[in-house]
């Protein structure tokens, strides 16, 4: 059992921006976030002996070389897109618990605004896209080329079967934007969004409007995992990994033929994580849910067990996921209104909330938090954290 065997002991961020861009390479961005995480933990680069790099955004050995991590013993990358950081969190816990490494660094960051934009899906290399040759041979020739279009197909079927509405999707967008108003680091701080403005937002990939989609931003974040024993010797309140799991929908490389069209990686992963932690969804004080698009928040709340499948729409209505609601979600503003930090920001925000460092958006006496990741065609990862 991995329960309470490892802790997050350091977090770092670069800050996020759009125009004119970070002015730094993606490698430098991630190194700056890593240095910030080391400082937060009270560690040096040479202490790091494990690195889990984000897919396609740099190699573990490159980060180790720059940071002076002379004893790199554990290096890997988990290929789950936006689900990778939380899946890496679990893998880091496994690594330190087994002794494969003592201090594992997980960096991630990109020039998602000023560099290659998500929308410009790579058109020359079939191996670089989720689904690989399947997407290349069977999706792209039919005009299905980018994530909002894939997920819109899932969303419309959900709307048909369960009556999920645009207004409910809008409730997600509005909640994230409200939270961003309390986060000076959020790109949408100072730019509130009403449900009326949301409903007037133009359709991009119907049922997705522009305001259903996450931001495209530059920036990086990083965090460090070590054993519970080592965590006691460091400066900050250790954040315990009570439960963690990841999973893949079936089949993971193709989504249109799934027997259970609404299955995601979380369908498998969430029960495992809650069982490991020995808590239930009702015990959770907040959730940081990977919000690439509004509907994916609704879908993950369902598959993670915060409500039944089909009830996610009503779960998010009437301020249910806002601060003060039954389950505050994405207290930083998330990918929709803070920045697209590839899911690392969700982990960083969970740590801030559990440490009591979340400023104006702090949840009083936050004890238990959930973080999820979502990637590719619905890969899922989840961690249950406590202080």
């Amino acid at each position: 059992m991995l329960k309470d065997k490892a802790c997050i002991v350091g977090i770092g961020e670069t800050g996020y921006c759009r125009k004119p861009g970070s002015g730094m390479s993606e490698e430098v961005l991630q190194l700056k976030a890593s240095v910030a995480a080391l400082a937060d933990a009270g560690l040096k680069g040479k202490d790091i002996d494990g690195v889990l790099a984000f897919p396609n955004l740099g190699k573990s050995e490159t980060f180790a070389a720059s940071l002076g991590s002379e004893n790199l013993r554990f290096a890997a990358t988990i290929h789950m897109g936006g689900a990778s950081p939380v899946a890496s969190l679990r893998m880091a816990a496994m690594a330190v618990d087994s002794g494969a490494a003592n201090y594992v660094l997980i960096p991630g960051g990109w020039n998602g605004f000023s560099g290659v934009r998500v929308r410009q899906t790579v058109t020359t290399d079939k191996n670089s896209i989720p689904g690989g040759a399947i997407a290349w041979d069977y999706y792209m020739p039919q005009g299905l080329t980018v994530p909002p279009q894939w997920y819109a197909l899932m969303c419309r079927r959900h709307m048909h079967e369960y009556g999920t509405t645009h207004e409910q999707m809008g409730a997600v967008a509005v909640a994230m934007r409200k939270h961003a108003q309390l986060n000076p680091g959020a790109l949408m701080c100072g730019k509130p969004l009403t449900i009326e403005q949301y409903m007037a937002s133009p359709m991009l990939a119907d049922p997705y409007r522009v305001n259903d989609c996450c931001l495209e931003t530059d920036g990086a974040a990083a965090f460090i995992v070590t054993t519970v024993e080592r965590a006691q010797d460091l400066g900050k309140t250790p954040i315990y990994i009570m439960g963690a799991a990841s999973g893949q929908p079936y089949p993971a490389d193709e989504f249109t033929t799934r027997k259970d069209f609404h299955q995601t990686g979380l369908t498998i992963a969430a029960p495992e994580a809650f069982r490991m932690a020995g808590v239930t969804a009702r015990d959770i004080d907040f959730a940081q849910i990977y919000d690439c698009f509004t509907f994916e928040v609704i879908q993950q709340l369902e598959e993670a067990g915060f409500c039944k499948r089909g009830e996610g729409g009503s779960f998010v209505e009437n301020g249910g996921i806002e601060l003060g609601g039954h389950l505050p979600v994405n207290t930083s503003g998330g990918l929709l209104s803070e920045a697209h930090s590839l899911g690392l920001g969700h982990i960083v925000e969970a740590v801030k909330q559990l440490r009591g460092d979340a400023g104006e958006r702090q949840i009083a006496d936050a004890q238990l938090g959930v973080v999820t990741g979502w990637g590719d065609f619905g890969d899922g990862s989840i961690a249950i954290l406590r202080k």
Partner: protein, 141 residues
């Protein structure tokens, strides 16, 4: 036809076989000869029974609409730059009588006219000399 500059499938292996059938205006799916399961997209073995024995079977070509997305703003340069009239377009997931699902597009049916479970049938669009894509139209029967 030489001006077609939208994404095309890689024409090798089972994918070439699948699209070569389309060129002959005959949609085919793989059927496992051990357990009888149909499958799409093409794969080398049956995920139900792990048999490597299979044959191509001609599809009835009939199915129903399972989901769709209306793309109002194309985000891929080939769909965006080449032809502004290309949007809105509406990729559809069709659930075939054989039980498999297939991603395609409708012809002669605007996005507004799409309905869940609407019966559709396959038609063929030769987009280049070599490649024909399966499309669908509202069922005529």
């Amino acid at each position: 036809m030489s001006e077609y500059n939208k994404p095309l499938p890689g024409m090798d292996g089972l994918t070439k076989e699948f699209y070569d059938f389309c060129k002959d205006e005959a949609l085919h799916f793989q059927k496992c000869t051990a357990c009888g399961s149909f499958r799409h997209v093409p794969r080398e073995m049956c995920a139900q029974c792990n048999s490597f024995e299979w044959e191509w079977m001609k599809s009835s070509g009939r199915g129903t609409i399972y989901s769709w997305v209306v793309i109002n703003r194309a985000l891929h340069p080939a769909f965006y730059d080449s032809n502004p009239q290309a949007v809105p377009m509406a990729p559809v997931v069709v659930e075939m009588e054989e039980g498999v699902r297939l991603l395609s597009n409708m012809v002669g049916c605007t996005p507004d006219e799409l309905k869940m479970d609407m019966p559709v049938e396959v038609v063929y669009e030769a987009v280049t000399d070599e490649i024909t894509l399966p499309r669908f139209r509202c069922s005529q029967a």
